[in-house]
């Protein structure tokens, strides 16, 4: 048995999970108001008015902790030439044909796209959310801005939920990934196979 490699510290993991929990709560309460098909979700939050009251506060928690997390992971998410080669072979990655993929760093291009999607989406959700936040802020904005903000908020949230569906599925699909965020470590084989450049950096091999 080779020694596991540290991928996330306890602080990074806690930060990630605060964002994740806030996302789930904000997502469920937001979907409840997004379409009647999901209105039953208001029952999870104590009814319609409580859902309306809680949703924005949960969103603010998600924003604050996400920004902290984004600051931690920012430097690992710059695109490189290897990412572009990896992206060109995304079809093979999806079909589990990983032979001869370029050596990539801590994150692959898919993870980086998700990161930047979130970096754009979450502040947009905050800004559009403040504009429609009843009863505190919405009365101070003109009606055209409220109408636009509602659309921006719904579209951005939708893109974000789609992104998170992919993120969660990728964690289930790529075996050995979940423990990186629960225990903090990954196996040497996992690191070598999926993030060879990062593996070399961590082990010096």
């Amino acid at each position: 048995m080779s020694k596991p490699i540290q991928r996330y510290t306890a602080r990074e993991r806690s930060n990630h999970w605060v964002v994740a929990i806030a996302f789930i709560l904000a997502g469920l309460s937001g979907l409840a108001l997004f379409h009647p098909a999901f209105f039953f979700l208001t029952n999870l939050f104590g009814g319609g008015p409580w859902t309306r009251i809680l949703h924005p506060f949960i969103g603010v928690v998600m924003f604050l902790f996400f920004m902290a997390m984004a600051a931690r992971f920012w430097r690992f998410n710059h695109f490189t030439a290897a990412d572009r080669q990896w992206m060109a072979r995304i079809g093979d990655v999806i079909r589990n044909r990983d032979q001869g993929l370029p050596e990539i760093g801590k994150y692959n291009a898919g993870q980086k796209y998700l990161f930047w999607t979130m970096v754009v989406s979450i502040p947009l959700l905050l800004l559009s959310g403040i504009v429609i936040w009843q009863p505190w802020f919405a009365p101070y904005f003109p009606i055209w801005l409220l109408r636009a903000a509602v659309v921006v908020h719904a579209l951005t949230a939708w893109i974000m939920i789609l992104g998170i569906i992919v993120h969660v599925y990728a964690a289930i699909w790529v075996k050995g990934s979940v423990r990186a965020m629960t225990r903090g470590t990954v196996s040497e084989a996992w690191a070598k196979h999926h993030h060879r450049a990062w593996y070399r950096e961590m082990t010096g091999k």
Partner: protein, 289 residues
């Protein structure tokens, strides 16, 4: 104002049909601005019937009192001094309040099932006990009518006295109007009545007199007779061609069901990818390539 009824035609955030066995006559309130003297009896009657009392405001040098609609003031007379022609001052007084659109933007925008209903007689009513206070009705309304209470954070507006109409009475404002500027009846009768008034006004020199029953919202169940029907904006910015904002339409039309479908498809795509392509596993001791 809640009223248990078989006669609900449309219900907010409800994707199936409402009970449709019974039909009622489509009603309308007709406000003849040329007959209005601005006495505000309608405001007083509205407060009295609905047991409402707004806070005492401040005089800022205009006749509008209170300044604006609120959770306590469901109708407000808006006074406009306009010079339609050079040297001819006119005082146009419009009783503002919910127009009871045939295609109500508030109902379309509302996310809470049954918080807004439309009766088959055309009245659009808020059921405050189902209101969650999100303010989406405000974004949906082309006439800037719903107001969120600062006290209970629920939305309020004119009910067209649905409780009175439901038992065969006319709305309180109609009953009290001393000049007959406000009349109430079936929509067909009110259109007919308006035609007579418009003919009269035209004979008296108001060649552009017209009925305000805007088609952009499918017609309304509160209509105006305007002396200057070609310029509704003279009457405290009554919109010339009101309609539900395309942004609200975009967001509440087919887009959302399609977006729901997209989320569902993403989850299914993941599941079927897992059971076909399978997970990505690495051997514990992988040989170097």
């Amino acid at each position: 104002m809640a009223l248990q009824s078989l006669d609900i035609k449309a219900r907010s955030a409800t994707t199936t049909q409402s009970p449709a066995a019974r039909k009622t006559t489509e009603v309308a309130k007709l406000i003849d601005i040329s007959k209005c003297i601005g006495c505000k009896a309608c405001q007083a009657a509205c407060m009295e019937w609905n047991d409402l009392r707004d806070d005492i405001g401040h005089n800022v040098g205009v006749y509008d009192n209170p300044h604006d609609l609120s959770d306590q003031s469901w109708t407000v007379m808006r006074f406009s001094e306009v010079e339609v022609e050079q040297g001819r001052l006119e005082w146009l007084i419009r009783k503002d309040g919910c127009m009871h659109c045939a295609d109500p933007g508030c109902l379309k925008a509302c996310p809470s099932p049954g918080a807004i209903v439309q009766y088959s007689n055309g009245i659009v009513d808020f059921h405050e006990e189902n209101c969650i206070g999100c303010g989406y009705c405000i974004t949906g309304c082309p006439f800037n009518i719903p107001r969120i209470s600062k006290k209970d954070h629920k939305a309020y507006k004119c009910t067209l006295c649905s409780d009175r109409v439901g038992v065969g009475l006319e709305p309180a404002c109609v009953k009290t109007c001393p000049t007959g500027a406000i009349v109430f009846g079936s929509k067909a009768d009110m259109i007919h009545h308006a035609e007579g008034r418009i003919t009269d006004l035209k004979e008296r020199g108001y060649s552009n007199a017209a009925l305000y029953d805007p088609k952009g919202v499918g017609g309304t169940h509160v209509m105006y007779v305007l002396q200057h029907g070609d310029k509704p904006e003279l009457y405290a910015n009554l919109p010339k061609d009101p309609g539900i904002s395309p942004l609200v339409g975009l967001w509440k039309g087919v887009t959302k069901p399609l977006m729901n479908l997209g989320l569902g498809l993403a989850v299914f795509a993941g599941f079927f990818h897992y059971v076909t392509a399978g997970p990505k596993e690495v051997e514990e001791e992988e040989k170097t390539d």
